[in-house]
């Protein structure tokens, strides 16, 4: 019997007030293509998102390659091997180039690949260096589908691929390429769970599942996909990706830096530092801009709210891309600048404290923001109501710094 790549055991998942799936079991082995084709609202996307460890489970557990990835007790482990994922919404960042995004997908598998042949088969070769935000809806969907297939395309070992309505918005050529790729990759031993009503994709299925009953479809093996991946170990993918986002968008400077500069400008508009003797007050002026910049939140999280990009990342890594290095660097620079403007010159100790303040503040705001991601409308809640909790610790640090 072929190795079980995916096991869903007695799954029960809620959405809103209702139970969407209950007592659901599924075993997916190498060379399986399971197409979920239940009617709208039957729970197809819920199954895919549960497989990708995005849904909290009421009951049951999900295993990838025999290892637990998520269960109803709240355990949420990284999958032992990378997997492919295309969500219903693309999960792409508009400021990324097509090539950078696909290279990042490869990097998550510790691989690199020549992407040109794959891009050509989807008619995207000429868009390789374009930003995803410049593409049409259909082209962006092609990128998302290709990103879902890539972990299998670059691997010699069997991989899992989850595709949610991959045909939505694809033209005939891209749909044909997708069907061909599914067949070739299946023959190479990879396994698919696909939510779709498309007749051509349903033809690829070895098993058709309407979430209640399953129908087997006979399938014969044909030619198989030959892996195009070259091993390349690259650590810190999340960190590097976060900083690439920041370099390409300047979001860190536009959001956090500008907030801090406005704080400095506002202070200087009313205050002449030369007339103030109170050390605590002056230190407060120096440390206020890094604090204000931190309260603006993590610019990478802000960017990743686009198109459920944050969910795509949450499925693959435990540590999301973030502005890890930007925060202390910017904090240091702002406090140093504050030293020049409000004190006699740069105070190095205070600059280090500024770096710490910005980093800690940004991390706390980021934690609060990420805590609301499960909500149906995360942008509709007023996160900033909770950030004043950080003012008292900041005030205590200022007093401590002044007493040093």
């Amino acid at each position: 019997m072929a190795e079980s790549l995916l096991s869903l055991v007695d799954l029960e998942v809620r959405r809103g007030m209702g139970i969407v799936i209950s007592g659901f079991n599924l075993e997916v082995a190498s060379k399986d293509v399971v197409v979920l084709h239940g009617e709208n609202g039957s729970g197809k996307s819920t199954v895919i998102e549960s497989c990708a460890r995005l849904m909290p489970l009421e009951k049951g557990s999900v295993y990838h390659h025999g290892s637990l990835v998520v269960d109803s007790e709240g355990r949420r482990n990284l999958a032992k091997y990378p997997f492919g994922l295309t969500l219903q919404r693309n999960g792409l960042l508009g400021d990324e180039t097509v090539e950078n995004h696909l290279m990042t997908v490869c990097a998550l598998s510790d691989m690199k690949a020549d992407l040109l042949p794959m891009l050509e088969s989807y008619g995207l070769a000429h868009r390789r260096y374009d930003r995803i935000g410049q593409l049409s809806g259909g082209q962006a969907r092609k990128v998302a589908v290709l990103a879902g297939l890539l972990p299998a395309m670059v691997s010699d070992e069997p991989r899992l691929v989850f595709l949610d309505e991959p045909d939505a918005g694809l033209d005939e050529r891209a749909l044909a390429a997708l069907v061909t790729h599914i067949e070739l990759l299946r023959n190479a031993g990879h396994a698919f769970v696909i939510a779709s009503h498309n007749a051509e994709i349903m033809q690829c299925a070895t098993r058709l599942h309407d979430l209640e009953t399953e129908t087997k479809q006979p399938h014969t093996d044909g030619s198989a996909w030959k892996s195009v991946g070259i091993k390349e170990k690259r650590g810190l993918v999340s960190t590097r990706t976060g900083h690439r986002y920041l370099r390409s968008t300047r979001a860190g400077l536009a959001r956090n830096g500008l907030t801090a500069l406005l704080a400095i400008g506002t202070l200087l508009a009313f205050i002449d530092p030369a007339t103030i003797d109170d050390q605590t007050l002056l230190f407060g002026f120096v440390l206020a801009p890094p604090f204000a910049a931190g309260l603006a939140g993590d610019p990478v999280v802000y960017l990743m709210r686009e198109q459920r990009s944050v969910d795509w990342w949450r499925a693959h890594v435990n540590r999301l891309p973030s502005a890890d290095f930007l925060a202390p660097t910017l904090g240091f620079i702002l406090a140093a600048l504050g030293g020049v403007l409000f004190l006699d010159g740069i105070n190095w100790e205070l600059s280090l404290i500024g770096a710490g303040i910005l980093w800690i503040t940004l991390t706390c705001v980021r934690f609060i923001e990420l805590s609301t991601l499960r909500l149906a409308r995360p942008n509709a809640v007023f996160i900033k109501l909770l950030v004043p909790i950080l003012i008292l610790p900041w005030a205590l640090i200022v007093e401590y710094a002044a007493s040093m």
Binding site: M17, R377, F382, L385
Partner: protein, 236 residues
Amino acid sequence: MRTMRGRSPEVLLFAGFVGIASTLYLAFNWAPSVSINAFESPAAQRIFYWHVPAAWAALIAFTVLFIGSAMWFFKRNAMGWKLHVAGSEAGLACGLMVVLSGCIWGAAEWGTPWDWSDVRLNSFGLLTLLAIFLVLGRRSQPDGVETRDTFAAFGLYGFILVPLTYISTRIWQIRHPGPVGGIGAEGSINGSMRFVVLLGALSFTLFIAGHMLVSMRITDMEQRLERAQKRLDGGN
């Protein structure tokens, strides 16, 4: 037609309101003046008769909020969610009263309505902000386990602020005074002052109990309405 028993939350609410109004009347016209030397603004000190009982009621509401949050978060208990909603709404009402009355008093007595270095002031302000966040946030979302889990988790985060508020004046006496008139404590207020404060505490307790019962009934009716409307939509 509702019975008198069915209207008991409203009766409690109105009894509490009348009690609060009476407390304020007594505080204004009957309670003795404090020594002119003890306070910068002896007249504004009378806000104390509003401020302290409101803080007591707010702490009851926030405790209910946290118990409800825990019941929902750990047990998915439907009553727990109703307590969470009732606690956050009542906590918002009383929290605003405490913070506003504190600002009015602070402006007269300290010369500043707010001091970022006073721990009790800030932790109470934060509890009130948490209540605003919960009430507004909940109204912005469709009801469901995602919404309930998330806001119950925020309710639990806030839990650390309640004991912090309680102990803060015992540890950091920056602006706020230490305990006044506590059981077994050497109270700093005399008999008639204590009577007005206790009347205020009783009135606010009635008010907050009525408020929470009305809120729980509203939540219950909203859920029934949602179910009924889903049936009208033809859904499940």
